[in-house]
């Protein structure tokens, strides 16, 4: 039995969608918008810690990776404070504009660069709240040539060389066994997440965030970023699908009158159904 377990967790910094304020012409007011760690990625970190705790006899090392601008150090620091052992920021101007196909490639390359072949698990959030392509984790697995299990909601048990998890699909819950050396995509299961404690913060102060660039990872400029990406945005436009709606707006009604208007519509329908 192997005594060491090496886990890589990939996390992303995203704008806080909970804070969106709309201006009068329906654009987003981007001033004061905060960046936060992507929600599913918090569960990915939680999963890594749960696995570490479940493997009592193994010495587990958790390394966290994030691709993004320097600002993403914020979430890497947070991960270190939670108790991760190493943190890597993958950052380079030439990475800008990469689609999820290229992002997977870069993250997989970073994992290979750091571990060569010596890792046991990669854990990702199932999707990012700002793009939600849900492609990046799976893409990393393909690039690393390891099995992948998606939509994981919880850890069931750990064995010497395998892990058992619950996977949530639309019409079934699956209990799946995956080998060590595989990739897990984790969803938000509303479990309680741990918070960094003071000791965690203090210990994390001593840990450095290592920087990985395109050069380190052996990428040429034209292989990554917009140039390297197979997809591109041809155009973007405003959504006017519903311009044929009535848009009768009441702004100074009592709540009681508002409720009556709604009930009238409901009643109309019921009358219609009864006919």
């Amino acid at each position: 039995m192997k005594q060491q377990l090496k886990i890589a967790v990939c996390i992303k910094q995203v704008p806080d969608t909970g804070q969106i304020k709309w201006t009068q012409n329906n654009t987003i007011d981007r001033t004061n918008m905060d960046s936060i760690i992507n929600l599913c990625d918090e569960y990915a970190l939680e999963m890594a810690f749960n696995i570490k705790e479940a493997y009592k006899d193994k010495q587990t090392q958790i390394s966290v990776f994030s691709m993004g601008p320097y600002k993403a150090c914020e979430i890497l620091k947070y991960a270190l404070a939670l108790g991760c052992d190493n943190a890597y920021l993958i950052t380079d101007k030439v990475f800008l504009g990469s689609d999820s196909y290229i992002t997977s490639k870069i993250l997989a390359q970073a994992i290979k660069y750091v571990f060569q072949d010596e890792f046991d698990l990669v854990i990702c959030g199932q999707f990012a709240s700002d793009g939600d392509t849900a492609q990046t984790g799976v893409g990393i697995a393909v690039n690393l040539n390891i099995p992948v299990v998606t939509y994981i909601s919880s850890l069931i048990e750990v064995n010497d060389d395998s892990i058992v998890v619950q996977q949530n699909f639309e019409d079934s819950f699956n209990i799946v066994k995956l080998p060590l050396k595989s990739l897990m995509c984790v969803i938000n299961n509303n479990c309680k997440l741990r918070n960094p404690n003071v000791l965690g913060y203090m210990l994390s102060q001593r840990k450095d965030i290592k920087i990985l660039t395109a050069n380190d990872l052996g990428f040429e400029r034209n292989q990554v970023g917009l140039q390297g990406s197979p997809t591109y945005v041809y155009n973007a436009y405003r959504y006017n699908e519903d311009n044929n709606r009535e848009k009768k707006i009441y702004s100074n009604l009592s709540s009681n009158d508002g409720a009556k208007i709604i009930l009238k519509e409901v009643q109309k329908l019921f009358d219609y159904y009864e006919d």
Binding site: I28, D132, T133, Q135, N174, S229, P230, G258
Partner: protein, 329 residues
Amino acid sequence: MNDILIFGEFSISNKLRPCVFQLLSKANYLKNKLDDSKLKLLILSPSDLNFDEIINELKYYNIDEIIIVKNDNFKEFNSDYYYNCIKNIVLEVNPKIFLIGGTNIGRTIAPMISNSLHTGLTADCIELDINDEKNLSATRPTFGGELMATIWSKTYPQMATVRENVFKIEKFDENNPTIIFKDYNFQEYKSKLSLIKQIKREINNDLANARIILSGGMGLKNKEGFAKLENLANIMGAQIGGSRLIVEAGFASSNIQIGQTGQSVAADLYIAFGISGAIQHLCGIKNCKKIIAINNDPNAPIFNHCDIGIVDDAALVIEQLENLLSQKV
């Protein structure tokens, strides 16, 4: 290579999922815009499944070719076996466009195929078309919910996923597709993943067919706020829905999420309480007949996309509705 390939996903009860028929319907529109294009459907199946009924059902979608690959490893979903086989079939068929339903299985398989074939994939599209260059043009909302983005792909096959019920089913005159049965040989290959147990889940299909939906967003503030709306829906006999943020906040369960990455609905009456009206939400409700919005911000975008708007505190309106309804009975 102008062909369009669709992935024919089965539900747990060995029926083709609705998204398959929806994609086939849309593919007909795409095919008509391409020269010399064939519409093909790929189905993976366990060896003993009878196909008579399934093939009968498939006669109304102008399909040119149905490829049925049989192997007992396809009895249940295993990403290794599915990936391995689909990838090889795609290489063989060499389609221009490959479309997959945006289900959990589809969203697992699609990126495996696109990454291994080094091609682009656009997820959760809400519209598909063929552009002047005779390529796939895939549209999805951009982050933030202000704009729609049309995405093109430089590589082939051009891949996209579309969630269930985004497209409507459209039937055509009966035809006789060519049926190709194939046995797939995994040779020595053995997946290291195994399914230990499968627990059937009660599917909440009520939303897709609901006539009246009360839907809650972050304007309901907390779990209690959302519970009050649920209670009102019970009294009214309506279904309950919600925005993604209220689901993410843990105030509502994820199977009631409506929108681009949740369910698409087509109710007669959709009433949105405290929902801002981001595009990702709006594109899930565009097929609703009537939309009423209650929001205390007169600038909320949802007021541009509703039939009746009420600028007010959602909680107060819910309370009044409950009062009025209790007077009635």
